[in-house]
């Protein structure tokens, strides 16, 4: 479970890029995290007392920081600066002079309150690229509302769609999906802005809203409402707007489920074959998507009966044999035991010297053949790199640093 294929640092796509991550929790920091995996130097600027609240989000370790922090603050250096203090703002400005990217997720107006509006940052460093992540974006009537991914899932339309028909809408699997999603769109924005800057010298900011990232991923929800007035509802375990059978089915074993996704007629024919009932895919029965959708209850019933008569492994083995699209509903224990996860090295073990323990975290994706990313270390201790960065990068003396520390600016 150890990552191989280490790239030489200088050869990584983002080597030489410096990212200042002054954001909290997951969304904007995840953008910085990806850039760091591919060679950027990431300076996590945190409040001297307590730091990023992500350090308290999730399961605590002996070190005090949570596992979520250890995993998601990977590769970052922690530098403490109190931005509520004028002297802190001055140190921060010096850091911005030497940065390529700034990631922030304060509520709109906060940076401005500290004397750090975009115009000022842009003047200090015209090539600076700033990622701004908030619940609702920098504009519009709700821009000042507090926003978390949970709220963004609701506002962006995805929470309404998760759950049993007419039942309580449930969390769509994980409460932080919208954070990761926004980190991805934000990271893409930063990379495009870097490309543009290299061609023109001009920096810019990226305005990302959590709810927008969620809403962008709702396929034809919007066009179908606009054109036909269709309001999509919760579908429970099966989703038969477009295709059938398409959903989760229980097997003979309690608590073990499989997912089946027959998006096309050919795939249904393979499933029919796997069930030992090829006649089901004939045109007089359920060979065509249209017929299956019209008879979705019958089709789902047939598949449910079949899955319910076999163990999970038997269902899957028969599906794989004919190429029918099926897979297990894995829990994390299943995942740790899975051959594919092992073969792809999706789980990386990292010895954390402070914890004296091995922490297993998800490996870097995407996977690049020539310049694979890497995890050098897990989330740092609060202020672990303050001295090094202020000395080496900003050229501060030991006395200056001592003074700032005494005043609790850093």
């Amino acid at each position: 479970m150890i990552m191989t294929n280490q790239t030489h640092e200088d050869a990584l796509p983002l080597s030489g890029i410096r990212v200042v991550d002054v954001a909290t929790v997951i969304a904007a920091p995840y953008c910085a995290g990806i850039l760091g995996e591919f060679g950027a130097e990431v300076l996590k600027v945190e409040h001297p007392m307590g730091g990023d609240i992500c350090r308290k989000y999730g399961t605590p370790t002996q070190r005090g920081d949570t596992l979520a922090w250890l995993s998601e603050a990977r590769n970052k250096k922690s530098v403490t600066i109190d931005l509520h203090r004028r002297e802190g703002v001055e140190v921060f400005k010096r850091l911005i002079e030497k940065a390529d990217v700034l990631c922030e997720n304060f509520r709109p107006g906060t940076l401005e309150k500290w004397g750090l509006p975009w115009e000022a940052l842009h003047e200090i460093n015209p090539g600076l690229i700033m990622l701004r992540v908030t619940g609702y974006g920098q504009t519009g009537p709700y821009k000042d509302r507090p926003g978390f991914a949970r709220i963004a899932h609701a506002v962006g339309g995805i929470a309404y769609l998760s759950g049993m028909p007419k039942g309580t809408p449930v969390t769509p699997g994980s409460t932080t999906l919208g954070d990761y999603l926004t980190g991805l769109y934000g990271c893409l924005g930063v990379l495009m802005a870097l490309r543009y800057r290299e061609q023109t010298g001009i920096g810019q900011y990226i305005d990302a809203a959590l709810y927008e990232s969620v809403f962008r991923c709702t396929d034809e929800l919007a066009p179908a409402y606009a054109m036909f007035g269709m309001v999509r509802e919760r579908h429970g375990p099966t989703h038969n707007d477009f295709a059938c059978p398409y959903g989760h089915f229980p097997t003979k074993e309690e608590g073990k489920w499989v997912a089946i996704a027959c998006a096309t007629d050919k795939l249904f024919a393979r499933l029919a074959e796997a069930m030992g009932r090829p006649e089901l895919a004939s045109s007089s029965l359920y060979g065509e998507q249209k017929t299956r959708l019209e008879n979705r209850h019958d089709v789902n019933e047939i598949v449910r009966d079949w899955c319910g008569s076999l163990t999970r492994d038997e269902v899957l083995k028969r599906c794989y044999a004919t190429g029918a699209p099926a897979g297990p509903l894995n829990n994390i224990a299943d995942i740790f035991g899975d051959r594919q996860f092992h073969a792809r090295r999706n789980l990386v073990s990292i010895d954390d010297s402070d914890l004296g323990e091995t922490v297993i975290v998800p490996a870097v994706i995407p996977r690049l053949s020539e310049t694979p990313g890497r995890i050098r270390h897990l989330g740092p201790k609060l202020g672990e790199h303050t001295d090094a960065v202020l000395t080496e990068l900003l050229g501060m003396s030991t006395e200056e640093i001592g003074e700032l520390r005494k005043k609790r600016v850093i």
Partner: protein, 448 residues
């Protein structure tokens, strides 16, 4: 409904929208003018486009459905030229996935998600098609595919061949399980990847039926985004070194990567996370609550401060005292009691009232919007999240706008999913410089 939606939708020009939104609150008046603006139907050829980050980058999208193609879409929104290469007869199966329209080769999902593309038909099952395709590759920067691993190789289009045709090529390969490992040949869709990657297991009530986490192609978007990020990194590397490379994305990995500390906490403590209903394992109250008028709100008290504000909104500030539920630890221990208090309070008021009281105290709260709510919402309108385009023969089609918003180089939607083969002639003639006779011959032999 189309007209109604059209009126609410905004222009495709993000720059313009930004100006509008910064012009304070005159949205209602400006919208109509925006929609009547002839710029809306302006085709990109009439005027040179402002320079965008991806201008000059040519992407060949050989993918089907969404997972690879979403990468092409986002790059296209920011200026890349995207050529969708499709089978001459069938085209991308995405054309038939979703709600059909009057255009026989386009569902609504296709129209929205195949935005900004040109369609070029080439049959890769024919040797001559493969040769033609390699000529196209020689003029491309990026190739995107999502066939089952091995398929491209069967057609004689493995990486060594592609890389020889164009050493600078960047090759994004998206598949259910990735290009390596024992399951690589299995067919995979996002729906399967949600299950295999551990997300579906977590959606639903404890001990009950696991439900679809939101939408079936959710994971396809994740994969497209990781793919696009990989392409951007590879472009940087290529610009420095002159060498292209391969990006290998498994849909299940894109899903699994987003499950915060689930792996770490199983690895360290053996904890298997189970379904959590409408809640969350890290914080209470953090979930969905039904209002008096049978609608739903989400409330997320991630920190103690947020709970204090909620207690204030509920006019029961004592709940946030340290003797009661002031600390997350205590709230987690008394999950059911705390949730019950919130359930009762929310259930006693209509949705608007819950929202108003929470927002007055800065509690993180939001409506569980369905799509009708979204179309009514003033914030979606102000941000230009719904973009309306006039599609010949179909009228107004409303699709989600471009994400993210870039201040100097905002993305744009030039066209919706194209008719099959709408740019075949143009590309064969102008890019590959084939003669009209040659094109005719290829067409007759159904190679293009």
């Amino acid at each position: 409904m189309a007209a109604k939606a059209g009126k609410r939708a905004k222009s495709t020009n993000r720059q313009q929208e930004q100006e509008e939104t910064s012009m304070a609150d005159g949205q209602a008046q400006t919208e109509t003018t925006v929609l009547e603006d002839p710029e809306l139907s302006r085709s990109p050829e009439h005027e040179p486009e402002p320079k965008l980050p991806m201008s000059g980058v040519r992407v060949i999208d050989l993918g089907t459905f969404l997972a690879g193609p979403h990468a092409a879409s986002v790059l296209g929104e920011f200026g890349a030229e995207v050529l969708k290469v499709e089978h001459p007869i069938a085209g991308d199966p995405m054309r038939r996935f979703g709600t059909p329209t009057k255009r026989h080769d386009a569902t609504l999902a296709w129209l929205s998600e195949a935005r900004n593309r040109k369609s070029v038909t080439i049959d890769l099952r024919q040797q001559e098609g493969v040769q033609l395709f390699l000529k196209l590759i020689a003029k491309a920067d990026v190739l995107i595919e999502n066939f089952r691993p091995g398929t491209m190789e069967e057609w004689g289009l493995g990486w060594p061949v592609l890389s020889e045709a164009n050493p600078r090529l960047i090759f994004l390969r998206v598949s259910g399980y990735g290009q390596t490992g024992p399951y690589r040949r299995r067919s995979g869709f996002a729906h399967i990847a949600h299950a295999f990657g551990g997300l579906s297991y977590l959606a639903g009530f404890p001990g009950e039926t696991p439900v679809v986490p939101g939408t079936v192609p959710f994971g396809d978007y994740f994969s497209g985004l990781y793919g696009a990020i990989g392409i951007m990194m590879a472009l940087r590397h290529r610009d420095k070194t002159g060498r292209g490379q391969v990006i290998d994305i498994a849909i299940y990995e894109s899903v699994f990567r987003q499950l915060d500390e689930i792996a770490a906490s199983y690895g360290l403590f053996g904890k298997v996370r189970e379904r959590e209903g409408s809640g969350s394992f890290v914080a209470v109250p953090h979930g969905h609550f039904r209002t008096q008028d049978d609608k739903w709100v989400a409330i997320a008290c991630t920190t103690d401060k947020m709970f204090e504000r909620l207690a204030e909104a509920m006019e029961r500030p004592e709940l946030a005292s340290s003797a009661l539920y002031g600390q997350q630890r205590k709230r987690l221990a008394a999950r059911n009691e705390v949730n019950q208090i919130v359930i009762e309070w929310v259930g006693s008021l209509p949705r608007e009232e819950v929202l108003n009281r929470c927002l007055a105290c800065e509690v993180p709260v939001g409506k569980l919007n369905n799509i009708a709510d979204i179309f009514e919402d003033e914030h979606f309108r102000a941000r230009g999240n719904l973009v309306s385009l006039e599609e010949p023969g179909l009228g107004e089609v409303v699709v989600p706008g471009v994400v993210p918003t870039l201040s100097a180089t905002p993305g744009r939607i030039t066209n919706l999913g194209p008719p099959l083969g709408n740019a075949t002639y143009e590309i064969m003639r102008e890019l590959l410089e084939l003669s009209a006779d040659e094109i005719k011959r290829l067409r007759q032999r159904k190679i293009i």
